[in-house]
Amino acid sequence: MGKLFRLFFKRSNWALPYVIFLVIFVVLPLLLVILYAFQDAEGNFTLQNFVHFVNQPEVTHTFVYSVIIAVITTAICLLLGYPAAYIMSRMQSKSAVIVIMLFILPMWINMLIRTMATVTLFDFMQMPLGQGALIFGMVYNYLPFMIYPIYNTLQKMDHSLIEAAQDLGATPRQVFSRVIFPLSMPGVVSGIMMVLLPTISTFALAEMLTLNKIRLFGTIIQENINNTMWNYGAALSLIMLVIIGLTSIFTYRDKHDDINDAGLI
């Protein structure tokens, strides 16, 4: 009993419940996805799921299409969001806080409700639902995720660097392209990640905004899981996971810094 007591009061052991939880609900599920992806319905090892993926032009086509749509959405968000973040970073801090609040506020509303609102807006303006509505809806949903990190880095930027560049004779354009933009890259990168990752994997948005006319990769995963094609669904999830993992590796450095900021390491 005394030993148990001491074990309990060693505070580094307090993380134990959470460690067990993480193993069961985070690590094990991902391992199971990998296991299921390499099995057939009877549980034998197979590569059939991946062969199936490559041999189905419809699925590979959807995959490429989803990535393209996600990249277009991210690019539009960046083009629209960067100037907004830049303008806000130049505002007086009091009004900037209000504007940033206004941008974040819609994010607190359920995404399905926001998407429903987008659908009704298109109906109201008598515009057809389809690819255009899909991209608008995704930009509408994820634009704040782009603005916020960029605004943060711009805001924290050391203004004496800008002044130094000006003193050394840089034109306003040079100041932006040589000083401000490079320094805001961490914000741009995390903004891109925060928009790209969810847009690649979305499925409900696409179904609602295109009346099921356009299917994204997420839709196909969902259909397979729903139709008890678990192994194929797991294989498709694994493919998505690999793509996302590869994208994350490029930006790992920055994530690492974010974590440092949050003080976990």
């Binding site: 580094s12 985070v26 987008t118």
Partner: protein, 270 residues
């Protein structure tokens, strides 16, 4: 000056785009037409029918959403806070490993979290329902609790806990009287964040809700829109949710402004 007007105009335009759909919904929640865009005269009929609870599906989905959000946020806050204290007292290497795994649910797209948990529950042969949805929500909420409690622990003077022990407090008392007050704000923001994440979730809920007919607001909207035609009550509900969120954010912001203001004046008076 022109630049200023131009930049203000640009921000206004973006905000107009963000708010247009919500405004359309709010305006048309005051008319009874089934199809949106038909104005059949001002009426509060939709609100009356929402509050009368005639639409059982909507009422039940609101109830489920709130129950699951409160349960998941409470469990996540408890689990995450205890974990944060533990991680804080760990050695560097262990910390790194845990923080890496802690990041996975935050970086994983919803659909991957959903599918992987679905496969876990299938593998374990668990019937999916309230419990599995709540556990799934705890999975993606707890990392945020850990991340909001951790900075508070870092800011804390590590000696005050030892001081409390030296002055004769039991470890429990020291935890309750010394550590808890220091990290309370982190716990509260972790709870609020978890609550909103849980309410907002669609994909993870969708994959873990099973086939017992459990629907939250998100999955119910999805199911309705698949059947074609959302019932008009959703317009009233969305408007109410929007106003509630607006009010909540105003209160939080007002409080934090007062808080920082008080801090600043305290610093100044020193």
């Amino acid at each position: 000056m022109i630049g200023k007007i131009f930049s203000r105009g640009y921000l206004l335009l973006l905000l107009a785009m963000l708010y247009a759909p919500i405004v359309v919904i709010a305006v048309f929640s005051f008319t009874e037409a089934k199809v949106l865009g038909n104005w059949t005269g001002f009426s509060t009929g939709i609100y009356e029918s929402l509050f009368s609870g005639k639409n059982v599906l909507i009422m039940r989905s609101i109830e489920n959403t709130l129950i699951i959000a409160v349960a998941a946020a409470a469990i996540a806050t408890l689990l995450g806070t205890i974990a944060a204290i533990g991680i804080y007292n760990m050695r560097h290497r262990q910390r790194r490993i845990i923080s890496f795994v802690n990041n996975i649910p935050m970086l994983n797209p919803d659909i991957i979290t959903g599918v992987s948990l679905f496969i876990l529950f299938v593998f374990m042969g668990v019937t999916q329902g309230y419990t599995t949805v709540t556990l799934a929500h705890v999975t993606f909420c707890t990392p945020y609790v850990v991340l909001s409690v951790m900075p508070r622990l870092m800011q804390m003077n590590p000696n005050i806990y030892e001081a409390a022990l030296d002055l004769g407090a039991t470890p429990f008392q020291a935890l309750r009287r010394v550590i808890m007050p220091e990290i309370r704000s982190g716990m509260i923001s972790g709870f609020i964040l978890s609550f909103t994440l849980s309410i907002d979730d669609f994909a993870v809920t969708y994959f873990t809700k099973g086939s017992i007919g459990l629907e939250t607001i998100s999955t119910q909207i999805y199911a309705d829109s698949r059947k074609g035609g959302l019932s008009p009550e959703w317009r009233a509900l969305s408007t109410i949710i929007f106003l509630a969120v607006l009010l909540l954010l105003l209160i939080i912001n007002y409080r934090s402004m007062k808080h920082t203001h008080a801090k600043h004046s305290a610093v100044r008076s020193k």
